[in-house]
Structures are given as C-alpha cells and as structure tokens.
Amino acid sequence: VVNTLTAWGWSEVVCRRPGACWGEPVPDGGGVAPWHQEVVRSPADVGRALDAITAAVAGAGHTRKDAFAVRLALEEAIVNAHKHGHREDWGVPIAVRYWVGAGVVAQVEDQGPGFDPGQVPDPTAPENLERSTGRGLLLMRAYMTLVCHSRRGNCVCLCRDRPLAAPGAPVPPGGRP
C-alpha cells in the first residue's frame, strides 16, 4: 500500500505496520469489493456517510472496535476538510470514497488549497496540550494503520487492516508481527 501510494505521489505516509498491509487497495474489478462514493454537502450528509461506512465495516465482519476507529478517523477527516479546506462553506462538496474488504480504505477529498501535514504541531507536546490544533490528525493516525496525504494536501487516504494494537501502543522496530 505504501509503495503504491508513494508511486502515485502521495506524501507523509505514516504506516503503523510497515510492510504488513493486506494488499493493494485498488480493487477495480476482478470480483473484488467495489469502491463506494458519497458526496458530502451538509452535516446530515456527514452522518449518512459515516453511517454507511460504519455499516459496511460491520457487515464485512470487522469488529465494533474497527467500526469505531474508522468512523472516528473519517469524521475527523471530513470535519478537517470542511473547516480548513472549505472554510466551513457547505456549498462546496466534499468527496468521500471508501472500500471495505479484508481491510478498509477511505479517501476524503476537498477542493481547498491543501495543507502540509508536516507543519501541524504535535498536540501531545506538553506546551501544546491546551491548544486546539492537530488532534484530528493525531486521532486519524492513532486509529488507522496508514494515513497519507496527496501532494497538494487536499486529499487524505486512511487505511486500516486487522488486527491492530490499541491506539498509542508503541510499534516495535520493523512493525508488528
């Protein structure tokens, strides 16, 4: 997954289990589960999109913990797209694409100028604990196996495979067994 995304020009690839993902996340045919797409233009659309992906995750046999993680990470990504990408303008649609199979891949794309995730301060640093920035991105990274951004920074890709240790748990060198 990391190699594929890197080849596509995605940056800031943060994988909690390097080399241990389930396979290529581009199942365009060959009898593999299809991608779904939602267009988000309102808070109600956000709820509908999150309900749909949560149901798909549960329906594919993933755990409630997986469903919680995917819902949380996806809501954080959509809210970031709305707040920062579109300056809270619901007139600009947000595209949400997802694929649920042995793992889950979701992409959230806004039409804003993008951002550099490397410039987001670490919200867990003692001096930043009371600041409001960066926690959404932190939660995405804590709850998903892999989080990466397009080069422009207006599209985030979230991947989760299973099993995954608890968020915040240290990753041993070389990834988990």
Partner: protein, 116 residues
C-alpha cells in the same frame, strides 16, 4: 435567591454543595461535531449560572467523541481553572478513555473511573 436554572435538552444536572454533577441526557450519546456544539452551549450556560467549585461531568453514557469534543473539554478545563474552579470527567467508557489517552489529554484533564 432565585435560581437561574433553565431546562436543558442535552444535560441532566444535579447540584449538591460545592459539586455540580452533570450527565448527558439519553441512553447512548454520540458526541459528534455538531452535538458537541449544542452540548457546549448548554454547559457554558450552566457554568455561568452556578458557583460550585467543581463541575463533575459524567461520561458514563457517552459512547463516541471526537477531537472537537476534546477541544471543547480542554477549553472548559482552562476556563474553569482560571476562575479557581475545577472540571472532572468521570466514568468514561473504555473506548472513550482510549481516545482521551491517545491524545495524551489524560495528563491534563482530571479523568476519574467512578463518580465522586
């Protein structure tokens, strides 16, 4: 003294001396981006209308929260602290505690396993 207490849609309030206990109305509460804003508005009103030293927010029926919720809780903590008051969070469900710990806010916020 006339109570300023209003009827709340999202909060259930029990006041006892120096501690104001608050829980979220309903069975299973999902504090998403938009519900958080509603709850925050009601709680700001409550905080302004009471003088108790401690605000004890019972999270026992909260099954989901986001970074917006956490940001609001941090802001509330800071505001109360600057007024010489205190915010305590009690009974978080395991997945809620996990979110708080993933953001290291258990180092900042007073999170208690039980009421009291």
């Amino acid at each position: 003294m006339t109570s300023r207490r209003r009827a709340y849609k999202y909060l259930v309030v029990g006041e006892g001396g120096p501690v104001t206990q608050v829980r979220l109305a309903g069975g299973r509460v999902r504090l998403n981006e938009w519900v958080t804003h509603e709850v925050a508005g009601e709680l700001a009103d409550l905080v302004g209308g009471t003088e108790s030293h401690v605000l004890l927010l019972d999270l026992g029926n909260v099954e989901y929260l986001t970074s917006t919720t956490l940001g609001w809780l941090v802001g509330l903590h800071t505001r109360l602290r600057s007024a010489g008051r205190h915010l305590a969070l009690s009974r978080p469900q395991p997945q809620v505690r996990e979110v708080i710990e993933a953001t290291c806010l258990d180092r900042l916020l007073d999170v208690r396993p039980a009421l009291g």
